[in-house]
Symmetry: C2
Subunit: 357 residues, 2 copies
DNA sequence: AGTGGCATGTTTAACGTTAAACAAGCGTGG
DNA sequence: CCACGCTTGTTTAACGTTAAACATGCCACT
């Protein structure tokens, strides 16, 4: 039976002072004489008092010194993704400077009954590429705390955004300029997607904002080249090497004439490349494959294929989001753009198959 | 001017019921008639009430549904380390299953005045390879919350431990068996270390527990081989490729006859190898280098050197720690061991230089 | 008819803290 | 000598919630 913990009140009564003075000894040293303060701290030490109860303080002050981060996907997935990890690193670097705690909030998919309330004790949220429709995210938004959304469109909220559309236009334009006409797109999940294959001229309005923007960028490129998007396939798959591989396999089966695969992440691209090579298709000889993120580990191996991709600064994205949340005060939601860079690597080349069937 | 937020109380008075009933509508649906519950929820929705205030609930119930994780190092550093990331992934996988939030707590190094109180609102702690002496960690321990320590020795606390000592003995034994007599050790920081070079027969009792155990394992191997540890150098350096490289450079300058470098992490080993090669020393031809962790990315590149290392299951380590904290109830602190495996790769080989000077 | 039990709701009293307003004492300057 | 301000501390009330005990009505069972 653990002894009851000491509180400001118990210490105060023990010492014959008021709880306020004990509180001040911790929070407002200037409001208390040095002698009293030292007496309080000394006594507190003897009863293993480790400072004011954080929950009570938070209730009283309305602040708790922590920010919450929400991902679309499972948390344990985020920790496998170079982009998400780097993004978190950016956030955490600011948290360290500010002494703020960082709360990772898993989406409630397993316990639907818990979806009705979001129990995180935080001063604000960073929402990474949220699906508007997910209940947990809806709750986060509805709570009305300061919120920064990342790669998302929300006029009333502060946001940090990469120019996905323009970048993807560059990628698709690059492939079209190389003569590719039989392209397909491999995307990570657009919403609660189940891996269907659809056409590029479908309506993507309700989708994940990142997917929406990148799809739009692809269309821009096709439009600029005067090529119809009808019949261009878009395959949705989990964002992993495995997912990329399976998607490539399905697309190549459905449309063997493909000469280029536009992947919405490097992981998907790596998987797609592996699949192509397993089928005896050389990359970029037979099929060009592009990625997105540009976060391959620094120690580049000599023999490895350098991806044609878009390098985005996920660290800076995280930093900016956290800086806005923890430091910005002022009028109107901030909108910050993060520079990205189109990088031509060795995974794309001139189309070799006869253009179109 | 944001309108004041609705509370259980305000909703109750609005609806002519008691706050308890509103609370029950959220927490104990069985204690409230279906009709009333629906009336409450419906009204709550119209006033943008997103469930009971988490801080108040936490104060009242004494629980908050979150666990805190503390690292030795900067948080933003942990996000660059494959071991730490995988460890976090293990923790987060359990948090997801349990619907618990995960609070990453930066060590307070920048704001010394904040060191006196730890403001995290959590139900328990996971301490990853803690330095006993760091103030933040001392506070975490002193708060008396349920705590699981990882790779640390604390009889009164639950723990999850890799058998560092035995594994390191295997590594050093392997090198000694290959004929190496001029070994040096490269370790990540032992405490508040500043990068000195010391002898292996120094006293490491007060150091980081992991370092302490691994050093002991090295000594075991030397003892078993009947070789003196006097004069065997131990170099401390930040745990990064850069750190490994610098340490290797310093050690080779101080003792050019070295034929083997025992590194306490794969990152250090990678850096050391790069440095050796930059100096024209072939690995493992001229110098053998060993690592620790075995977490190299799965997509192994053809030309790359496979490290001789110890593969430890960081994911499982994280999972077990979180499971103990969130699920274990019972008598006495649990002690869980995590299996590791000594892996002979291509970075170690027979010593070629004449044994000893 | 009386008793027990269940369903539904209320009353009461904290949980531990801190903001704001107030009081007492003491030195200082005009 | 008095008004003023500073230092040090106290009083009061509230932050928003929920556990525990209590009240009430209704039905069922004996």
């Amino acid at each position: 039976m653990r002894a009851k913990r000491a509180t400001l009140k118990s210490i105060a009564s023990e010492l014959g002072v008021t709880p306020t003075s004990v509180s001040n000894a911790y929070n407002n040293p200037a409001k208390v004489s040095k002698a009293l303060r030292e007496r309080i701290i000394a006594y507190a030490r003897t009863v293993n008092f480790e400072g004011p109860n954080p929950a009570a303080r938070s209730l009283r002050t309305g602040r708790c010194g922590a920010i919450g981060v929400l991902f679309n996907d499972q948390l344990s997935y985020a920790f496998t993704d170079a982009h998400d990890i780097t993004f978190l690193r950016g956030i955490s670097s600011v948290c360290e400077e500010e002494g703020a705690n960082l709360v990772l909030i898993p989406l409630q998919n397993k316990h639907p009954e818990q979806r009705d309330s979001l129990s995180a004790i935080v001063d604000g949220y960073i929402l990474n590429a949220p699906y508007k429709s997910h209940p947990t995210i809806r709750h986060a938004l509805a709570r009305g705390l300061p919120t920064v959304v990342v790669d998302f469109d929300a006029p009333e909220l502060a946001s940090v955004q990469t120019n996905d559309r323009e970048m993807m236009r560059a990628v698709a334009g690059h492939l079209l300029a190389l003569g590719h006409r039989e392209l397909a797109i491999i995307t990570f999940p657009r919403s609660a997607g189940n891996g269907e294959i659809v056409s590029l001229d479908r309506d993507f309005a309700d989708e994940n904002y990142v997917v929406h923007e990148r799809i739009a960028g692809c269309r821009d490129a096709f439009a600029a080249a005067g090529i119809a998007t009808h019949g261009v396939l878009v395959c949705e798959t989990p964002n992993s090497e495995e997912g990329g591989s399976r998607a490539a396999e399905r697309l190549l089966r459905q449309r063997p004439v493909l000469t280029a695969l536009v992947c919405f992440s490097d992981r998907l691209a790596r998987g797609a490349i592996a699949r192509c090579e397993a089928q005896g298709l050389n990359v970029p000889g037979h099929v060009s494959v592009t990625g997105f993120d540009g976060l391959d580990p620094p120690g580049h191996q000599p023999g490895a294929l350098r991806l044609t991709t878009v390098r985005q600064n996920a660290f800076e994205k995280g930093r900016k989001a956290a800086e806005i949340l923890l430091r910005a005060r002022g009028e109107g939601p901030l909108k910050v753009g993060i520079e990205a860079e189109f990088v031509v690597g060795d995974s794309s080349a001139t189309a070799w198959r006869s253009p179109s069937a």
